[in-house]
Symmetry: C3
Subunit: 416 residues, 3 copies
């Protein structure tokens, strides 16, 4: 039986996407101009190479990371591109109004696009948690709401808590992971636990996912350092990130073999946990002064990520009821939380060692971490509830996922 | 039955390739030296990162973009590398004699190699139109002739029409698309319409093609800006290209779902039309002053590209008789033509607003666009006719395309 | 029958990896700090883009190059990442103590990490020769020993022979290839010649390998130039490498078709020989003053590589008994040896033309080449012997390589 959509949804989706783009263009028409200030133009040549690294991470790395499902690789790369293209424009608008609005106009530059691209990361992380349980229309709504809440989060952090713009963007992993998990919790469906077969990968799809992982691995130092303006801190952040991510890879390989039943490496562990070091060291990359500290943090994050991947899987579905397709909790949530805690500890230790520094800043960081966590959790809950409305849903279709149908609206939650 | 070539062709191809390379080396021996002028050396560090972006687009992006055919992905990546390696050397020679020849010698530098790599794009676009209908020997001849005609085209534009070198290279898409279409028209074969099965893709080959698409998508801003020397114009071109290509992706997704019979996204649409924005904005990227204009142009180009992909397919084969394997007309031809028209309109509008600017420059641009179009069409016709000569042809072989035979001379036009 | 490991090996491997990482962290704790000297910080912005190119080559290029075996692609990408992550840290330690140790501490910077990443290349090349014949534990021991011997090799070259640090790193290919071949010779097993089926590739795995090849191809100019400090020499090295690698690709295509029995291109030839030009020109990239010379060297290296790939294969297994999985002898060994000879000839010719130059330097270079060759051969022999000890070996398992088992310890040498 061929899969068919009711005409209403078939035309609603393209009309909705076109309407969004038209709205974006109108907003740009009325409020956005290019920023030609000299100090920005001078930074661009050195900024551009790192901008492209981050761009590769977001457009290619995250979309291929999601390509691991054997019947879904294709949709995930396509949907990621669509979401990223929409998301960057929406993030430019929201960030523009919150951070660069003056005299009725918003001035944007390469730096604005870079910040928008980094912001989009948070949404792509959430997509990893809900992958296969929602259709493209639900994903687009989720993306818009999430990027708005995250921009408000950043605005509070930067404008009220006086946190640097670079640091406010390091919360993308924490926010995205918990937002996605909450959406996934609300969308939880009792039939999910039965369809494990659909979640399996195959060597080809896993090699594509490995390609995504490697691009994220290689360019993570750029992500953690591109917005740092102090030269010395910038290069320390690059080196710390490289060492942390190398150490977390070692942890991933070691713990994966140790915890498996038959001595095999588990590919999902490698894809997830090798990146944990980069996530964990994000907050403190510029203030860690000793290579060994970055390596220890990376090792701990990698170990935590592998253990966190397997532990909840066993007791998850019946008890808590959160289905986490890509394992974003262990990949981004736990390492980021660990990194945030370590960062606060480092600030406390620093203020003990240098009495001139105010201990007050540790409180600020605790506040910023809690704020991101709280907004991620609450925002995800509300968004998930919003996505359960009937109007977005594709009707249940028999034999939804046949091999030929790999470019339909995927909707893993709908039964066979 | 094993596929066999007559010994004449088997030895003619390697001998021909080696002869070409020997001839290149002799030409370099007599006429080429490195350019050690200080002003070039100083530009190189900032040029190099963007050079590598363009290099990735040409060597990896275009070759994987052509990897979408399920029985052909391998040959297309291999042949593209061979053609690119030969093409860059030939383009260096032709460009060298036309642009950098003085006192009996040609001085080359990193900038020369960059221009040669960008020139090779035009040939790889044409390859997309004739893919599977010609063998490697025919492809090499086509590449040599095409690069020569395009270099003459550029020389007329730069030396006589006083167009900048950057702008003259933006015609690669237009020229390549129409050149390839004309070659394909001449090589048209009535049996083509019957073998639709061979043209199909499969998820793995399409994911490889998506990889090529994403690399082109990400580095298109580098392509449209690398040769611009004015700092302000350079960074405006980067931002405009990014926004245009994001908007054209949205158009591709929306129109693809709207025009499909069953509400599925069509992978070929996504691969083709997401890039249309980058192509269309190429000409005017440095003079568009408002983000919304770049986005609108990208949206229009993406929509045009999807519609142009499907419309002719239905009425194409019997009526016009052009078989366009990769869909280069909708991917590069139409968006580039649209971009050229918009560029001329922008120049006319600018000269109205600033009476100091001469309206004469619009005429020049109309002339340059017509010249590229005319040379592409006429050059393609002549080259196509030239390629129909018996001497290049592989004999018709039964069961040519079996799965094991993926590294033979592919020749989709020869029957089963 | 499911493949099982005795518990001893299953727990020994993860414990060993964790112990290594803990030891690394301790060494870093006691001896390593970041180098904040101003002259290093100023170089970083221009260094960083080329650093990322080299990083992509080592982390992605070499690991996907090894992904050509159809039942092994997955393991090879995973193992390469593990070895690279361990290897970079170990190389940092060994290089640090040999080159940057003063006052009881080692100062590291981005430049140190870059040199460590380049050093790791030598180990990944050796892995190509022994791929599938050893398990991960043996690979890690091999990596540690090899990186140590190579660092001693470099220390002798730099400190005693007064060779530049850049030039000492160009021996990675020669050293790695002969080291790996010797290890492979010792591990040779009479059953190897029977299992040709396991060594076969398939289109998908070969396309992944092609992806690795293309990344190496594109960024080889960065590898050959990143550590050159003289501006003029740096950009000449970039151009020479680009031209040499283009010419060697042409040689690969031509000779591959000429030597095949049925006129087909052989994918393994293309993957191997296209890179030969970059390897061969490594030594002399900065002193070759004429483009034609680089192209001729590339052409010769490519031709030698294809011929060297096929010739020994026919007479290899029974007579010499070296099994070279990836063909590293023709890919890196022969071209690098040719490049070394040509470099010495160029130095002799230069010292004839400029009597002011001492002919003594040619002797030094002969010594450095012989030293690398000798240390590679002897080191490989000893390491290979060391790896035959029972304690590392996985027990022979029936039906080891089934499709589902792609993430076990691979051990091609163990029979069906």
């Amino acid at each position: 039986m061929a899969s068919q959509y009711p005409p209403s949804l078939r035309f609603r989706l393209p009309a909705f996407i076109l309407f969004l783009e038209a709205a974006f263009i109108l907003i740009f028409y009325f409020c956005f101009t290019y920023d030609h200030h000299k100090q920005h133009l001078q930074q661009h040549p050195t900024l551009y190479a790192a901008f492209q690294d981050v761009n590769v991470m977001v457009i290619l790395g995250f979309s291929f990371l999601l390509a691991f499902l054997k019947r879904y690789g294709f949709s995930s790369t396509g949907f990621s591109l669509c979401l990223a293209a929409l998301g960057v424009q929406w993030a430019l608008i929201v960030n523009g109004f919150l951070f660069h609005f003056s005299d009725g106009a918003v001035e944007i530059s390469l730096q604005s696009i870079l910040e928008a691209v980094m912001t989009v990361t948070t949404m792509l992380i959430s997509v990893g948690a809900v992958l296969g349980k929602v259709n493209l229309m639900q994903l687009i709504w989720m993306a818009m709401v999430e990027l708005t809440i995250f921009a408000v989060n950043r605005w509070v952090a930067v404008s009220i808590m006086q946190i640097t713009s670079h640091m406010s963007l390091m919360y993308v992993h924490l926010f995205g992971a918990y937002f996605g998990l909450m959406v996934s919790w609300i969308l939880y469906h009792s039939s999910l636990s039965l369809r494990v077969e659909k979640e399996s990968s195959k060597p080809t799809s896993d090699t594509f996912a490995m390609l995504g992982t490697l691009f994220l691995w290689m360019f993570w130092p750029s992500f953690n350092s591109v917005l740092i303006t102090n030269t010395k801190e910038k290069w320390v952040a690059v080196c710390n990130t490289y060492l942390a991510i190398a150490a977390s890879s070692i942890a991933a390989f070691s713990i994966s073999v140790a915890t498996s039943r038959n001595g095999k490496l588990k590919m999902a562990h490698i894809q997830n946990a090798t990146l944990a070091g980069g996530v964990a060291v994000g907050f403190s990359a510029s203030i860690i002064q000793h290579p060994w500290l970055a390596m220890t943090l990376g090792l701990a994050a990698g170990a935590l990520s592998v253990l966190g991947f397997d532990f909840p899987k066993k007791c998850r579905d019946p008890a808590i009821g959160i289905h986490d397709t890509r394992g974003v909790h262990s990949m981004f949530g736990l390492p980021s939380f660990l990194g945030g805690i370590i960062y606060i500890i480092l600030i406390v230790v620093n203020s003990w060692e240098n009495p001139s520094l105010s201990g007050y800043s540790a409180l600020i960081e605790i506040g910023a971490l809690s704020l991101s966590m709280a907004l991620g959790l609450i925002g995800g809950l509300i968004t998930g509830f919003f996505l359960t409305f009937k109007c977005w849903k594709a009707p249940p279709v028999t034999k939804y996922f046949d091999d030929q149908a790999y470019w339909e609206f995927p909707n893993l939650a709908v039964g066979y």
